[in-house]
Subunit: 201 residues, 4 copies
């Protein structure tokens, strides 16, 4: 089936995929409909995309929603599967999250350049982050933290990691030229430390 075949029925998916990477690479406002069309096998500027989406922001919403689904999928996969050894679990989860963020790291970059975005999308992005934090919250709660403390630690944890990734993606350098791996290692240790400290109280 050639790219110009009018029978293609996966165009919508291709639009979502290409939009996701374009939004991440260049930002939402700097990505033009034409460019999405070109990458998706449609004639740029011909508006073929509008058969599949009614507006540019609707694409963003879909992109965010799909990312959200994957985050929730990861969260569910990790939740309640703990070993009893909090250190081991924390390390495992950290690795899983890093792997996830590596393959999907584009999505983090979307968070910049969202001026003029409808409130619906803003909410969707906020919700997505909340499920991201939730991965840590689940863990911390399972090991006896109270709800509030678990939330605070979760936001702290994912916030620091994503800041690192975001910095790298945006400014084309790591913070203080630190290596990504050493940052993750360090953060892992700190997290364990905090958990033990809290547990001992």
């Amino acid at each position: 089936m050639s790219l110009t075949d009018r029978r293609r029925n996966d165009t919508k998916d291709r639009i979502i995929d290409n939009s996701a990477s374009l939004f991440a690479t260049k930002g939402y406002n700097n990505t033009s409909i034409s460019e999405i069309e070109r990458l998706s096998g449609l004639k740029p500027g011909s508006g073929g995309l509008y058969r599949h989406f009614t507006s540019k922001s609707e694409i963003l919403l879909e992109v965010v929603n799909q990312y959200h689904l994957r985050i929730v999928g990861l969260r569910n996969k990790l939740k309640g599967n703990y070993s009893g050894d909090i250190e081991a679990d924390a390390k495992f989860i950290l690795n899983e999250l890093i792997t996830f963020m590596s393959s999907e790291h584009n999505m983090l970059a979307i968070t910049g350049d969202t001026n003029g975005i409808p409130g619906l999308v803003r909410t969707a992005i906020s919700d997505t982050w909340n499920d991201g934090y939730g991965i840590f919250v689940d863990l911390f709660c399972a090991y006896g933290f109270d709800d509030e403390a678990a939330k605070l630690a979760g936001v702290l944890t994912l916030g620091a990691i994503s800041h690192f990734v975001f910095h790298l993606a945006n400014w084309h350098a790591t913070p203080l030229e630190l290596g990504f791996n050493s940052f993750i290692d360090y953060w892992g240790k700190q997290a364990i430390l905090l958990l033990n400290e809290f547990n001992s109280k």
Copy 2:
């Protein structure tokens, strides 16, 4: 120059100031030259701004540079003025930084929406962050951390805080609906904890 002369011949400064707040409020790409001109007392759309800057990104560079200077100023002010009580110092610095970020919180928002920006500016922004992290690095180093550990802790600390602020500014909600103050309190406690732990080794 008398006090009443201060408003004269300062078009360039006004452009920088107004650009800073516009970039922060609406994002770099969503801020038009015309709008900067209007706020700066120039006829919008007449290009009067180009007497002072050769391009829009040059303004951004200047805005970032001035912010950088202020960050460096804060860093120098705080550096080497430690009390000997690490806990007290950490709390003090955290408060100073929060105060600074509150009055300048706009600048954090600039970090989104900077696609299509020249590498020169990217570097300037990266450098600015590095001096931000440096405030904590200085502290940690002064109390005996080795350089690498201090850097890691610095990036961790500022990263987590700025993620929180950025999330709020962009998505119009706090992460997991946590209060800003409880987040800061918690983070302060954790930082002290980590410092002591490291020191005790």
Copy 3:
């Protein structure tokens, strides 16, 4: 064909009917093929309409032609059925025409917004008007006017009435805020007056 079959195989008719009211309500150029399709039970944007018409202007032609047929029908119904009392006949015809224009007043609105229309359609519309004027021409001729005078009076009569209706439809106000009924009353009296005057010569 039974009563319940009436709704079948009449897509073409539905297209014409819906087009007529859409053209009238929103104007020809502001009515999209998609919209006609949606109202006519076809999937909008799928071009199903092109099974029945080769182009948008062909629909307009058909719409105009059907309107023309109805006008001719009215003309034939009224023609040659005169009472001998010219005043009574004139009043009767005026009322019939007003009634007709009320139920079909949409069509008058089509006469705006027809730019870019093929000459064929222009001619059809012109012909339609001519049969409209003809209703009065028939009457005036029957009572002894010469052909030219009857034509002039006919154009005068219908022209003034349709101007009023058109003004109201377009500018959402009546000319000089006159009431429609008083305008019609007045115009009826004038027409009679002119007829008598001519007859008396």
Copy 4:
């Protein structure tokens, strides 16, 4: 001063003039900004027009307003300058109006194709018409008609004339292929007749 000279300062006027004739020739919605720009010596599609007008409908408003001013000018010129001989005055005014409409007949055509026009413009057009009718109202009032009757006669008179002109401009043929002059002659006679009739009451 060449067409490409950036010092030109009559561009706004040229835009208005060219818009007036384009709107009349092709209708408002069928006239593109690019086309107005091309005719006005601006590069089509470059948006140079937007230095002079903030939107397309603002141009239309200006075009209508200027036409309105000229109508009011004519009305004032003709008003209160009557000879005492109603027949002579009516003929004179009719001729003046025909002359005016001939040189400005484009404007009548604007009245079609105005879908999507802001209410402000609709009102302006309605007002313009009202001052057109007013030319006759002034006359009729001066010769003793009561206000209401004068209004009715005024709308009747201008309505019939403009319908004729409009029909010609739109459908490229005269109603019933009547000559314009004979229509005007006839209408002049009828008007006089009506006036006398009313006066004799």
